[in-house]
Symmetry: C2
Subunit: 674 residues, 2 copies
């Protein structure tokens, strides 16, 4: 009952149960699927330029001029990888992304590594998106800037609740922010470019400042250090690539032909993201926007005076919008608000995508099996809550600092990329061997070259990410991936072992060889209605032998019980078990064990009345002995424990109250209880 | 398995299971019963004089001269009450003390009030005894004085472990400290008196000091204030009476004739305690021993200089021993050590007495029924742990201050006394009416007068305790008693209601009217050995209808299952339940509910395979769905849930390991698992 009540509370909070596979069956057309599944990738434009500038700023002002080139490099990588992934999506249109590709072509271990990487990155996507979200909220309402952690965690809560409700009707609205965001970014870039071209170059808040390099890197942009800085900026900018995985995982959500549609969406999204990223980095370089690690130390006004300790810099996109629409501040708010919204959508997409991967892993035996049925609300919700909790912990631990969180990011994404591309190379190699027709063969060879290029490129980026970020925090992600990999491996080993243990033998006759006799035993503590029902049920099952047993904890009481039994003329013999230690459980156990020893092949069914109470605390007053007895009896071989429920009036009352309170919210759920 | 393992650990810690009724069956002769059960009463001599002196010291030096008279008054009360209780013990020789007397004669509510009072006082006895114990340890080893709280809590832990082991062989040794303590006290008083008489009056550490009254009570010993101070000292001294209840509760532990033997013990103990108390208060007054609330403020040397902030006063008995055996310091250590030991015995007696009262209350339906069987180690231990935890909390909360704890004491003891005596008056009144024989009648009337005197006296002391201590801390005890009274009342009401609900009706035929048909349903998730066993067991119970059901969470898997089923030619039809929401539990529930609706009078037995795992974490990987299904099915009327256990190899392995590790400590316990 208590569970039913908490169910009802949950329902009030997160809404009616829904067909969780709703959006699968009612798959989305491209115009809706693109914005929803691509929100992750598109939204990265809201923080990727910042990370490029920040990484460069460590070596001072000069370095910042490199930013458009880095933007261009990242954009190029996006396009190449997107082109590669179109092949992946078409080859594996049933979804699963790199996990499916890697486990099919490279074996279980590779698939498992991909899965662990993706699980970690789901968490990081939510944490990063919501931290950036807090940054945009702060840009709009400066008073909220000191409360970034609270806002980021609030965003996680919001997204989690939305994920738990998971209503399909909301999903349609999710498309709007993505479209608006793309529009807003292009408008900003276009108007900015127009002003630059017409000589009316916009001036941003940080345009007038110089950037000092961070102390230890004064000699930067020379030799190896310069390469390192640039690679670091490049790897930070690569966050724009994380969204590729989200689209790849979401293939089953597309309308048929799913693979082709997903591939088209991916290409479109990739092209748009690349354009926006290049446009934004170029424009911010022209305007002279600064984004540094420590504003109060690094930013210096032309006059030479530092900027002051309380200066809080806004995200690059926010600064750009402010500069470009300088005569029309309303547009700044529109851009910032739309950016905040698209980040929420992106986080939401991750939250909803997570159970999909988890259920796939559970079906393959890497996670507890109860996670496998995606439609099962309970486990579905538990997965989302786990994800949200992990993301919230990260946000709090890193005090909602985007640069710090970015350090952890990408290891997982690129590990998945590399293994996915490697898997595809093998995929083509296997197929090429089998095919004779030369045009098909040639196309496949071409595909293999494309995926090979993707492999080399992603492997390079992975190396860059590891080299530039491992010490900075990526080791945490690596450790998390390793732990997940190990745990899932152990779970898999356990399930495999148990499966082989439980597999029926050839010509298994165990379902046909019946125990020769059944002994029914009714455990009696008192003569009351629940016991009489247990007795009736035991008789109804027509066992070979039936007797009732009671334990003489109190000898007088046992004698009284026997008298009453005889008096009522109950049609079953009553055996009184001696209990020198005044114990209840052990004499019953001994009796059953002896029964089993006398006739080891027979089946023993123990009937135990169990009270169904209305309020949780009542369980403290009832059922304790029967629960203990049940849990002990389960250990005895060939003994079946049958619980005969008796619903106390307090249960019926509590149920009726609940139904009245719940009203028609979920009357359906209570139907079965009548 | 996990439970079994923790059982084994417990066993290693607290010893083999024992016949918990051991010391009842093998009842103690008086020479052993007296010291064990009387230790509580006797040990109070170790702190009662201190409390009298302390209460008086508040009004300065003059007041201290009253102390022997107060000792005498308390001694007199002890004797009167002991005489009254001899009647109680003889009238109710089956034990239960005032609880039995009050509930028999004054009704449930009075009995319940006595029980609540006694439960609170059990806790306080342990807390006070162990705090005083820490005081004596500190008197012996001054370095330990600052660690009183730790020592007191350590004492509680010691006593709790002893109580949990509860070995009868230890019990015999418990008699020794009590005898030694009585000897030591009498030796001290005798030697001291000899030295006083011969003019060689001993000089104690505090003999030379004057006592300043506490600021606000400078005008004490005049009018009402003086009466209040004296009453307060008297009520503090009455702690010596608390032990009467312990003896009264312990009647069943005596050898037959139990009532008479207990009464004799009580009289002897009472007389000894009274003598010791009078002797100690007299001698300490003669020697001029001081015991005050705040030594650094109240004690002033003859020269006028105060005693210094770091002076820690020893208990009165300790100071006396030091003074009396001034040429022979070894005796001081003997007295202090024996006092500490007897306090441990006293606390241990409470710890062991507590489950007795709890089981009696549980049998009468005031506490959860599983506490009723005293032989059940688990609940027996839980009771002791609860008592110890409560006592430890008190010790820590009052920073091991005896005077503060004494404030809470006695309310419960005297509430029980008053109701017990009132019950005895009613007991005699009822009997006197029925009796004609005039000598018997006259004796009963005399008894009634004695108990009447006891009632008046204890009622007076209760009033004194309440008046002088309520504001000081007794309100906490009153509140605790009230809460216990209410909770136990609610539990009782609940049980009464359920009992009447469950009572079989006149000519209850429910055990004879059998359900016309039985439907057996086997829930199938996979074809494996546990399922085949469940199928075989279901068939063995020869139901009217038998079918297997599986839920098509994954349609392809369901089709594969069906194919395999047909291929194996299993002798039971398989029904595939549709699951649009990919749920597992709800379709099964709906199926069962429909079955029930079609034939409401039939019995439905659902067979569910359940894995028995070896390690607790494995439960996360198995059984989750079946557990959820079971808990939901229990709510459906007329459905019996039968768990068919399957022991995984990991269980067998873990069991074998455990047996190997446990060696022969408790091989017996594992016998049933083979």
């Amino acid at each position: 009952m208590a569970r039913r009540f908490s169910d009802a509370v949950k329902r009030l909070l997160v809404g009616r149960p829904f067909r969780s596979d709703h959006f699968r069956r009612e798959a989305l057309p491209k115009r809706l699927a693109m914005p929803v599944f691509a929100s992750d990738m598109v939204s990265s434009v809201a923080y990727a330029p910042d990370e490029i500038l920040l990484a460069l700023s460590l070596s001072g002002l000069v370095a910042l001029t490199v930013s458009p080139w880095i933007g261009l490099a990242v954009g190029a990588v996006i396009l190449v990888i997107v082109l590669c992934y179109r092949l992946n999506l078409r080859a594996y249109p049933s979804g699963g992304g790199d996990y499916a590709v890697a486990s099919t072509n490279l074996g279980t271990r590779a698939g498992l590594l991909v899965a662990a990487s993706l699980l970690v990155d789901f968490v990081l996507t939510v944490a990063v998106s919501m931290t950036v979200f807090a940054g945009y909220i702060g840009a709009m309402i400066p008073e909220l800037k000191p409360h970034k952690v609270v806002i980021a965690v609030g965003g996680i809560v919001l997204v989690t609740l939305a994920g738990l409700r998971g209503s399909a009707s909301i999903r349609r609205f999710l498309a709007i922010p993505t479209y608006l965001f793309i529009l807003a970014v292009f408008a900003t870039v276009a108007v900015g470019t127009y002003r630059v071209v017409t000589g009316d170059t916009p001036v941003a808040a940080t345009s007038g400042y110089s950037v000092l390099p961070m102390a230890e890197e004064e000699t930067a942009l020379m030799g190896l250090a310069a390469v390192f800085i640039i690679l670091r900026a490049f790897s930070s900018g690569s966050v724009a690539l994380a969204g590729v995985q989200t689209v790849a995982m979401a293939v089953p959500g597309f309308r048929a032909p799913r693979g082709r549609n997903a591939a088209a969406t991916l290409l479109l999204t990739g092209a748009l993201s690349a354009c926006m990223l290049v446009g934004l980095t170029w424009l911010s370089a022209v305007i002279g926007i600064k984004y540094v690690a420590a504003p109060s130390e690094q930013l210096v006004a032309r006059s030479g005076s530092p900027i002051g300790a309380d200066f809080e810099q806004d995200p690059v996109l926010g600064q750009l919008a402010q500069a470009v629409f300088s005569g029309f501040p309303f547009m700044f708010y529109v851009v910032a608000a739309v950016a905040a919204l698209v980040l929420l959508v992106a986080a939401n997409t991750s939250v909803e995508g997570f159970p999909g991967l988890a259920s796939r892993l559970a079906r393959d035996g890497f996670l507890p099996r109860q996670l496998a049925s995606r439609g099962d609300r309970l486990t579905f919700s538990n997965g989302i809550l786990l994800l949200a909790a992990a993301a919230a912990v990260l946000v709090v631990a890193f005090r909602a600092s985007v640069p710090d969180l970015i350090e952890l990011y990408l290891v997982g994404v690129f590990t998945a990329f590399v293994l996915g591309q490697l898997g595809m190379i093998r995929h083509w190699t296997v197929r090429i061997r089998r095919i004779v027709s030369s045009p098909v063969r040639r196309r496949m060879q071409l595909n293999r070259v494309v995926n090979g290029l993707g492999f080399v490129l992603t492997a390079l980026v992975l190396v860059v990410v590891l080299v530039t970020k491992l010490a900075g925090g990526a080791w945490i992600a690596v450790a998390a991936i390793a732990v997940l990999y190990l745990v899932m491996g152990l779970i898999h080993r356990h399930y495999t072992r148990v499966d082989s243990e439980l597999a029926p033998d050839e010509d298994d006759e165990s379902a046909r060889t019946l125990p020769p006799n059944t002994h029914a035993v009714v455990v009696v503590t008192e003569i009351h209605k629940p016991m009489l029902r247990a007795l009736a049920f035991a008789r109804a099952s027509r066992p070979t032998f039936l007797n009732a047993i009671t334990v003489a904890v109190d000898e007088d009481a046992a004698v009284r019980l026997q008298d009453r039994w005889d008096e009522m003329d109950l049609p079953v013999p009553l055996t009184i078990l001696d209990s020198p230690y005044r114990e209840l459980v052990r004499p019953v156990m001994n009796h059953i064990t002896n029964l089993r020893r006398r006739s080891p092949r027979d089946l023993v069914i123990v009937y135990i009345p169990q009270y169904i109470v209305g309020r949780r605390w009542e369980n403290l007053l009832h059922n304790q002995t029967s629960l203990r007895l049940k849990s002990r009896l389960l250990f005895v071989p060939n003994v079946v424990v049958a619980s005969v429920p008796w619903r106390l009036r307090s249960f019926t009352r509590a149920r009726d109250q609940l139904i009245r309170r719940a009203g028609d919210i979920d009357a359906e759920s209570f139907r079965e209880l009548r």
